[in-house]
């Protein structure tokens, strides 16, 4: 069982987008729209903007930090990211967005919330010491 942990603190709510496979933001998400553009991803054409993005892990390129920071700047980022395993590259994108723009999104490691489906509303509260998803 994954132990819940805050990578980047914050609070957010939004409809869940449950990804069945890991997604690389670089080459996988268009920061102008938030659309998933990775042709290899089974959920291509879904949109991450404002969603609570739940995925098993990050993947691939080390440029994903830049793309996530750009999504946060442009308002096309997910509301929050819930990962099955820690991904420092995504956390870094959120940390730098906060450094530059004073706003960020929570990034947490947590078991995928049971019985939640894509579209269900989710609330993520991540403090340095605790993660709550309901």
């Amino acid at each position: 069982m994954t132990e819940a942990r805050t990578l980047v603190a914050g609070e957010a709510r939004g409809p869940a987008l449950i990804l069945v496979e890991p997604l690389s933001f670089w080459g996988g998400v268009d920061p102008a729209t938030g659309d998933i553009v990775d042709v290899h991803h089974p959920q291509r054409d879904a949109n991450v903007a404002g969603r609570v993005l739940v995925m098993p892990s990050g993947r691939g390129s080390s440029s994903s930090s830049s793309v996530l920071a750009e999504c946060i700047r442009a308002g096309t980022a997910p509301a929050a990211i819930v990962l099955g395993e820690a991904d420092p590259i995504l956390a870094l994108g959120a940390i730098v967005a906060r450094e530059l723009y004073g706003r960020t999104i929570p990034v947490v490691v947590a078991p995928a919330p049971a019985a939640v489906r894509t579209g269900d509303p989710l609330n993520v509260r991540a403090s340095p010491d605790a993660v709550r998803i309901d």
Partner: protein
């Protein structure tokens, strides 16, 4: 959150003792240490920075914020590809404001004291990290090569943390910097793979694609690769494994320096094994392709990661003085190009009409223009990312098949390479 044990120097930097930029950089390093649960920071001797590649306003504003705050790198730092080919600017077909932003971002990193190497293959530069050296490298293919082939040590650094490490000279002591995290946890055993496939460069990106899919972010060991597998071939494996998965290190038993034996690679632990057959390799190859092989080609692109001098020489040899009937692009680093110029290799390529790209890559920068038909490549990484990045369909083949296909203008491939017997 566990706290990070900081040295006096780290604390001084955090408090602004080394200037504002060093304080920003140290904040990022320390926060990352928390994310990856490191208990302290260590020194690095060099860095390879990928943050110079333009992805949008945020990356540019980050670079200029650091520069305005007085950023200077503390360790020798090389730069990854940028968005622009600065040596061949006339080929750029994108929008001007994007080019101007991308140029500003590239310039900012040079002003911070980074070397304008503009290559995704820093391991092909004259100076590269030695065995056991701790460095901070970004660029996914370079990270895998650094750990696996050089035996130097880098975690999987991404944009922002790379330059933060270069400015502070410090990184969290975690992940692949530590002995125990470098041991293989999974074995890929090549079984009954025919000699002709083992002898072909086409095997390596395909095997990398398969390994990335199966290993995720783990450290795998590969059993069954020829002991004399070249760096060019290992490079292709690295790039593919870091595209389909998040592999940051692998061991090739009898090939890479930390794996003289399988026991050395695993630390003697029993680990699960995946058998790699020709059938699995065939489906891993098919997965790289988004176009049927029968189509007339639009272009051919090789050199991802950046071609080495020996790959450029091989290209000349394979062309045999003939001119391709579709555009053949090759990406390489400007240092390699300088060597190729001295040996007459680049002149031979240009005479054949080959378009040499430096400083960037054909799947990153708008260079190809409108291509009528799929693009053939020998790169697993290019095959993986080009469809989304530049909207082309992809066919895969070995370097030789790519050249023969470029000459013919249609896909020429030896399908027997992938047969069972």
């Amino acid at each position: 959150m566990p706290s990070v044990d900081l040295s006096e120097g780290d604390r001084a930097a955090l408090d602004g003792g080394n200037g504002e930029a060093a304080a920003i950089a140290m904040r990022i390093v320390v926060e990352m240490a928390g994310v990856i649960e490191a208990d302290r920071l260590i020194d690095v001797t060099a860095a390879h920075v990928d943050s110079c590649l333009y992805h949008g306003i945020a990356g540019l504003e980050f670079a200029e914020r650091l520069l305005m705050a007085g950023a200077r790198v503390r360790v020798p730092t090389t730069l990854n590809v940028g968005y622009l080919d600065l040596l061949h600017p006339e080929r750029y077909r994108g929008e001007k404001p994007t080019a101007s932003n991308a140029r500003r971002q590239m310039d900012a990193y040079v002003e911070m004291g980074c070397r304008p190497t503009w290559t995704c293959a820093p391991y092909q530069l004259a100076e590269r990290p030695g065995f056991g050296e701790h460095v901070a490298w970004a660029e996914s293919n370079a990270i895998v090569f650094c750990n696996s082939v050089l035996g130097a040590r880098t975690a999987r650094y991404g944009d922002f943390i790379d330059i933060a490490a270069a400015i502070t000279g410090r990184v969290p002591f975690a992940g692949l910097h530590r002995d125990e995290d470098r041991l293989a946890k999974l074995v890929f055993r090549l079984e009954d793979v025919p000699e002709r496939l083992l002898a072909s460069d086409a095997l390596f990106p395909v095997l990398g694609n398969l390994i990335g899919r199966e290993a995720g972010a783990g450290v795998p060991a590969i059993v069954g690769l020829p002991p004399d597998t070249s760096e060019d071939r290992l490079k292709a494996l690295c790039a593919a494994a870091a595209s389909s998965g998040s592999v940051a290190m692998f061991h090739a038993v009898g090939v890479t320096p930390e794996a003289p034996t399988l026991e050395a690679a695993t630390g003697g632990a029993a680990v699960p094994e995946i058998v790699v057959t020709v059938a699995r390799l065939r489906s891993a190859r098919d997965e790289l392709e988004t176009a049927p092989a029968g189509d007339r080609l639009g272009a051919v692109s090789v050199g991802t990661p950046h071609a080495s001098l020996s790959e450029l020489e091989r290209l000349v040899e394979l062309l045999g003085g003939e001119e391709p009937s579709v555009v053949l692009w090759v990406n390489t680093g400007r240092d390699i190009l300088a060597q190729a110029e001295r040996r007459g290799v680049s002149a031979a390529l240009e005479d054949a009409g080959v378009r040499i790209v430096t400083d960037t890559c054909t799947y990153l920068s708008p260079l190809l223009g409108a291509v009528k038909g799929p693009v053939m490549t020998n790169s697993g990484k290019w095959a993986w990312y080009a469809p989304a990045n530049i909207g082309v369909k992809v066919v895969f083949g070995s370097l030789e098949e790519c050249v023969r296909s470029a000459l013919a203008g249609r896909v020429v491939r030896d399908e027997r390479l992938w047969s069972d017997d």
